[in-house]
Every structure is written in C-alpha cells, then in structure tokens.
Assembly symmetry: C3
Amino acid sequence: MSKTIELAQHLETLHINNMYKSDFYWTWDKTDEELDAIFTVADALRDLRERNKSTRIFDSGLGISIFRDNSTRTRFSFASACNLLGLTVQDLDEKKSQIAHGETVRETANMVSFMADVIGIRDDMFIGEGHKYQKTFMDAVKEGYRDGILEQQPTLVNLQCDVDHPTQCMADMLHIIHQFGGVENLKGKKIAMTWAYSPSYGKPLSVPQGVIGLMTRFGMDVVLAHPEGYDVMPEVEEIAKKNAAATGGSYKKVATMEEAFQDADIVYPKSWAPFAAMEERTKLYQAGDKDGIDALEQKLLAQNAQHKDWTCSEEMMKKTRNGSALYLHCLPADITGLSCPEGEVDNSVFDRYLVPLYKEASYKPYVIAAMIMMSKVKDPVSALMALDAAGKRKFF
Amino acid sequence: MSKTIELAQHLETLHINNMYKSDFYWTWDKTDEELDAIFTVADALRDLRERNKSTRIFDSGLGISIFRDNSTRTRFSFASACNLLGLTVQDLDEKKSQIAHGETVRETANMVSFMADVIGIRDDMFIGEGHKYQKTFMDAVKEGYRDGILEQQPTLVNLQCDVDHPTQCMADMLHIIHQFGGVENLKGKKIAMTWAYSPSYGKPLSVPQGVIGLMTRFGMDVVLAHPEGYDVMPEVEEIAKKNAAATGGSYKKVATMEEAFQDADIVYPKSWAPFAAMEERTKLYQAGDKDGIDALEQKLLAQNAQHKDWTCSEEMMKKTRNGSALYLHCLPADITGLSCPEGEVDNSVFDRYLVPLYKEASYKPYVIAAMIMMSKVKDPVSALMALDAAGKRKFF
Amino acid sequence: MSKTIELAQHLETLHINNMYKSDFYWTWDKTDEELDAIFTVADALRDLRERNKSTRIFDSGLGISIFRDNSTRTRFSFASACNLLGLTVQDLDEKKSQIAHGETVRETANMVSFMADVIGIRDDMFIGEGHKYQKTFMDAVKEGYRDGILEQQPTLVNLQCDVDHPTQCMADMLHIIHQFGGVENLKGKKIAMTWAYSPSYGKPLSVPQGVIGLMTRFGMDVVLAHPEGYDVMPEVEEIAKKNAAATGGSYKKVATMEEAFQDADIVYPKSWAPFAAMEERTKLYQAGDKDGIDALEQKLLAQNAQHKDWTCSEEMMKKTRNGSALYLHCLPADITGLSCPEGEVDNSVFDRYLVPLYKEASYKPYVIAAMIMMSKVKDPVSALMALDAAGKRKFF
C-alpha cells in the first residue's frame, strides 16, 4: 500500500466536511482536524509527485494571484501549487492594470474572477488593512457567485496578510512535524519565537503572530521574546493562550532572547516592526503623509539599532537544548557577514542549517496545493485514491 | 437534451463556413449569421462550464496578447478565454522586450508567433494607428505562414482598436439579448449611446463606435448624443445608417442627453474624446511633440469641463422608459461621489445596476472564447456536441 | 512511414545516453552525436506539429525562465518550447521579487525550483559573469535535489551567457543544414562570421563565439573577421581550431570584411563589443563605478564609429559566392536606412533575405524543445514513436 493510500485512509477519519468551498484566512479559523487534513494532503501530494504520479484535479482553470508586496518564495510556491493541480496562474499586476482611481475592491474582485477557481492574495504592508482587503475581496466574489456573475465560487488562500501568514507557518509546522518524527513527539518541546535585529525596517508581524497562533496547538511550550515596543497584536496573543490551555502546552512571554533560547528545541529568530509604530504608519499612509512615513522610518531605524544584541549568534545557539535546536526562518534572512554587517543570524549558524531551512521552504507549495484541494474537492479521500491509481506526470 | 446541444443544432443552421481561419477586426466585417454564431457558441461554452464540462479544444498552444494600453478586464477576459479552450497566454510586454528601435511590425509579428494559435491585440490610443497596427501585424503572420516560417496561421481577436471594440460590444449585446429574453424582443427598442462627462481626458472612441456599428443590426432605434465637437468617425456613422436601413431599425443623432434618454429602453452613457482633437493628438504623437500633446490635453480638459451636465443622474434616468432603462457601461465608470466629485453617473444609479453591469462584463470571456473557437475549429457543431458528451473540467 | 519515425530511427543509432538529466551550457561540451540528436529531435517535433500531433511529454510541470537582459525572441521561443512539451513557464522577474540584498544564488535557485523541470537562463551582460551565474545556479539545484529539497532535478538550457548562445547557434546551424540540403553538403563551404558596425554599444560576444565554436564542427571553412580590438575570447578560438582540425575543415582569422566575404557561401555580419573593453566594464560593474561605465561607453562609441565601413552592403555581398551567399543574423539587425542611418546591413540586402532570416529564427523554439526533451526523457526514441502514434494537438 502506497504512502498516499495510507494518508487517504487517515484523511477519511477526520471531520472535514466544512472545508469544501471554504476560504483560508487564518489557521485559528480551522479546527485541529482541518489542519491535520492540510498536512495529510500536502504529504500525499508530495508522495505522488515523488512517484511521478499526475496530481491534476483540474483539466483547466485559473488561480488568480495578487501580490500587493514583493514576493519570490510565495509567488513561486503559489505558481507551483496551481500547476501541480492543473490550474494556470493569472497574476493581477496592479501597475499594468486599468484599475481606475477610486475603483472599488468589489468591482476589481468580480472583474478578475470570471473564471477563477482560487484566489491567492498577499497584502501585508499595513496593520488593519491586509485582512480587510482579503475579506472585502472574497465577500465580493461570493456575492458575484450568488448573483450569477461568476460560474464558480473561487476560494481564498491567504498568501500573507497583516495578521497571519498561514502558508508559511503551516509549512514551518509540517517541517517541524517531519523533523521530530510526528506530531506525537512534540508534546513538551520548547519553541522560541524571538525578535532579531535586522538593518532593514518594518517587516510584517504576520510571521511571529502566525507562529504563536499555530504552534500553541500541538502541546508545545511556546515562548515569545522581543525588545520593549515590539509587541504583536494582543488578539493573537489571546488566541495563543487559549490554544495552549486547550492542548496542554503553554504560551509565555519573556524579556530576553537568552531566556527564550534557554533549552529550546526549536528557535525562530526573526526581525519584525514594532506594532504601535505600524499602526501609526497605517494612519500616515491613509493620510497620504509621505514625509511622516519617512520620519517614522528614521525613528524606527534608530530604535532598531539599539537592539543589535538580539542576534542568533553561535553563543546564543549554545544555550539551546544540547546546543542544537532546530533553527527556523521564513527566508530571506539577514545574515551577519554575508548579506549585512550585523543581522538576524551568524553566517556559521545559518550555513549549518541550510539544508533543513530549504526543506522548510519546500513544504510551502504542497501546503498551498493542499489548501486549494481541500477547498475545491468535495471528496478528497476518493480523489487521492484515484490519483494514486492513475497516470504519470512525466509521460516518458 | 442539453442547452449546448440545442445551441449546436441552431449553429448548424447558420452559414458560417467563412469563419474558419478568419480574423475578427470589426463586427461590421461579419454577417448577421456569423455574429449569431459567436453569441451561440458563447452561450454554449458558458453552459458547458456551468455543468463542469471541459471545453478544451486544444491540448496545447499559445494565445499571444499585446496590450499597448493598460487593461484589467480585457486582459483577464482574454486569459480566461484562452484557458477555457486549452491555450496558454504569452504576453508581449513591450517594455521587457528586446524590440529594437525601428524594428518592423512584420519582424515582431513573426518572432512572437512561431507557435501562436491566436493573437489578441489592444491598440486604441491613437486615431488612425490602432487598426493599422493590427492589420500590419496579421498580414505579416499570414505571409509568415505562407512562407513556411510559421506552422499554423494564427488568427486575430481585436481586443480594442481605434475604430471598434468588438469583444466589449458583443458582450454588451449578448447581455442585452439575455436581459430582453432574446433577439426577437429587441425590434423597436430604443438604445441611447450618449457621451458623459468624466474628469479624465481622452478615452477611446471605439466603444461608442462599436455600439452604433453593432446595435443598429437588431432592429433597434439607436440614438447617439454628444456635445458639439465630440463626433465619432463618419465612416462608422455611415455603417450605422446602412445597418439600420437593412434591419428595419433606425439610427439618428440628437443634440442633448435628455432627448436621447427620453423613453429609452437601454442607455449607455460614457465619456470619450473629441474626434478632431484625437486626430490632432495622433499628429503630435507622430511628430514626437510631447509639449504639444500636453497643451492639447489642457485644452481638452477645459473643453470637457464645460459639459459636466452630461451625466447619468437619477433625474436623467427618470426620463427613460418607466424610469428603468437598462444601464450599460464597459467599466470602469467615473462615479460621482465615489471615484470622483463629478463623473459619468450618479453613485445611486450605478449601485442599483451593479449586478447587471458585472453580468454584462461576465460575457466577455465567453465572447472571446467563441471568437477563437469559430476561427480555429473547422466543424464547431461537432466540436460542441463532442464537448457536451465528454469529460469533466474539475475531475473530482 | 512518417518523417518522425524516420528521425526516431536515426536517433536510435546515436550514442546519447549521457544526455538524460544533463545541462546544456555550451555546444562544445556535447559530442557530435549529441548535437545530431538535438537537430533530429527538433525536426521530429516540427514534423509532429505540422501534422497536428500532440507533443506533450509532461502532464504538468514548470519551466523557470530568468532573463537578466531584455529578450523577445528567446523569451517567446522558450515559452513556445515549454508549451510544446506540456510545461508552464514561470518567469523570475528580479524586479518584482523579494530577492534580498546579498541573497545567495544558491538560495534563490532552490526557492524557485521546488517544482521546476527545466531552467532557462539568459545572463550575457558581463564577461566572466554570465556562465558563472548559470553554473552556481545549477550546482545549487543539483545539491537541492541530492538533499531532498527538490523532488526532481531540473536541467539547464543556456539561453545566452557571456561565452556561448547555444539555442541561437543551433537554430542558425539547423537552418544552414536545411538550406544546404543536409550536413553532408557542408564540407568545404565557407562561412564568414564578421563584425559589423552598429550605432549601439556593447552587444554580447556570445553569438560570434558560439558560431565559431559550433560551425567549425561540420567540415566548413570558418573565417572570423573584425577590426582591431574586437577579439573574441581566446579559449573559444582554441576550441574552434581544434574542432576544425578534427573535422577536416578550417578556422582562420582575417583582417577585413572584404577578405572574409570573398567567395563565402554563408555570411553572418554582426556587431559586438570589444573583448578587453568588456572585461574592463565587468570590473567597473563589480566596483559599482557607474561613472566609469558611462565614460567607457563614450570611448567605445567613438571607437565603434571609426568602423562604419564594416557593413553588409550590396557591394560587399557581391564578393560572396555568385553574389548570393546565405545571409544570417540573430535579429534584431541594425538596418541602414530603416532602423538607423548607418548600420550592420543595407536595407535592400536585409529585405531580400527576410524569409530565410525569419525561418532561421523559427528553428529556435524547436531546438530549445529538443534540448529539454533530450535532458528529461530517458528513452527519446520510444517517446517520439509514441507521440507519432498518439492524439491530436488541436482536437477539432
């Protein structure tokens, strides 16, 4: 029996009826079994690919991508996932588009979705904006479907918003699961999500938020650490606490990187912007205050520069369990002595974890494909079994 | 019997032998039965899509798109149409291309068409230029096919030129047909194609021209209204007159929006540039006179601003038949109080017609797909029947 | 028996076992039989296309393109080749990407290749850089495959580097073969690869290098001519000499265009940059010396302007065998009196060779597809036979 068949049999045991036609905004909207289903289908699709089995569930169809911020990894992951399932990507490049000044999101959403099966959106630049845009967009296409404008109801894959970065964190998590040999081995493991210094300014908060919102669901001890002023959204911290309480794990905040790294099994040191400043930035942006944004940026760069000691150095790594915690990063990292003079991580640390880091990233296309498949296929168990029994991807 | 089979049977009654391998420049190049065929195939493809039938007529192949002006709706419609039929879009982005200074259209045309099945071109910016470019391009690929450079003869879908915007107007017309319950109900219906004020400058004339050139063929009373100086091409007016004479309808010009709207069943109020000024602009463009173009633009904006009363207000709509004419627009519209302080249409009017407007737009991908199918498939009747009998688009 | 079957039978006689999973950097890495295999498969794919046979060898999959310099012809050729075989192109547009300052090629390579079957790279701007980038990239994906990051090992098609332009020169060569009725007719034919004046500055050396590196393998008398200072890489000249010695042909350099054209059967007059200056330019580029590059450019333009007499005029063409040598160019050419006042070739000469020139270009998609097929298909003979026996590309 193939691995795919085993995984399909596991999928059959899960309560996943609500996933069909559903959107994927945040991991905490989903039940544990629904997340399990994503991991299971991602593994099955990877197994099929490795055995040169076609994984097309569509004969034709479109995946619309909207990147309101630059992207390489996620762009290629979305394109790979669509191709894996038989969809063609059509990118909405807002610069090349005739999107009128004042055109409503509702109109744009309908105009690009006449034959869309899935929509992938990255909008992570402004606190309070990204999720709102995705929600407005998807409400519009749902209405469009209801009103007979669209022949099918496209579903959403959140490719990063201001709140969560689910395709990243699910890929991170699937990597952890495989590194530790299964979810059952994660109970009591300590994971440190910590801020780290980067010479650049204003990275989104969605990764640390996504990590504490997701990784608290597996019985792990999740620790968040950051300098003063770099808080994440309080709503997401609340979710992390509830998750921990429900799964026998824990969530806590500590004041230093050292404390967070102490005896950690997994570390995720990464720069992000201070929340309050990001809120201020959103207001300046809404007011069109370009000078204000520049001034704020200068202030934040200066603030940033006070925390250069928050770095994943060899010294810091020694504090982790046996000095060999699993090092995670969403990439690209700011690497001391390689991409910048002082950054998030020592070159020697980064280099030692290169292969696992790239493997971590390699789960993203499969996670996205699994999200799409679960939202578009009514009976995914039968679909996996049929794919397992069917033809080749490379014919010769 | 499915709707597709019924439509295929209707298609069988039409004289459509000349459509195979033909280009689609202007609706008035086509016979009534040929336009009927486009509508019929568009409806059939939509019916197949709704029933999750695959509509692939190609196993592989390319649709080349060239947008010499910005586009969202038409870009996504062309991409959707190509995908629907099994073609992949390859866009010629002239900015990213190594198109040498002075490179001939003939060379570019051949270089991008080695495996092109269909070419979609938008070139609507300059009077006297857009159609010429399309014609030169297609003559070149025809010669390329004749000379053994190309293995297949690609066909054209005009995605908007300086003269006509057939994919838009055919979609508008198909929307009208469905709203009124069939072509047979259109005799004697009054449609008002009117100029409307927009704060922007220089929109193409191809929509009003396309509308009067097409809608005069269905026995309707077509009325054109615009301020002095905003004439459309006289050649197209001649076509409108001949069409009307041939179908028992009428074509006339009136001097005010009020008169045009009076008892109208359908209204299409939309901004466009003054013809004479557009001709002047073409000359300045050919002479490379950037300052001249800017000066002209200022003059035209001032001229424009004198006609702010040409707007589709609630008052204006009350003049139409039962105050409830069908409101059309090619989108995006300039909406008073939403996208601009004073524009083409009141927000409340636009909002009331939102669903029908988006439906109007939703026909465009199917109309384009039908144009492609009729030019690439020798026996479209059998093709539709085969598609109806064949497999799924979404496999699971 | 179809032409494809004949070609497949010829393919069966060749020693081509090393081509599977191999990269295509330079023609001189490949044996004569391997090049023969590329030509054979290119012809077979063209024959299949002409007979409306599907040539898909992939059910799904990605071809990644990276154009670090502008491109139309090669971009469309790569897209056509991928489509021909069933792959979808995903372009890495470095401007739209989140490629961090200092991000290693190794990281980028892995991040874009999770589901890549083939990688096409153009990087021709700087001597000593282009090939290095391609090599680093491909080493990284090989490691990625070995380490379990990638599920498949993507192969390279060099779409032009600083050393060779194999897809161009193989297309040129296939054109020559067909024009002269077979490789067996090329012995003793004289081909003149000469520099020609262009008003633009700094065209890559990879075409003349690729030409002398490839065309010396067919028993032809290959002559290179250029003004002083416009030498090509000495390593490639060494290869040309060895090739000539091995095949009974010859390679020599002459000092004037006249001498090169004298009794030539084939001429390839084309501008390129002086090698030493290109090396200097690379250093200035590495030092980020923008002013230095500008100054160098001025110097080179002045140097260029001294050689306006190096032009493929009607007079010059008269010197060739019967005044009717086959004129080659990779396009776009700088055409005197058409695209510039003084350029590489007289308008009347260029115009007379238009059809053969476009045919020359038309081989590129098939050559690229053949390179991909030979590197991805283990048993190409059976694959061609199966394609010949199988279904249609256009279904109706």
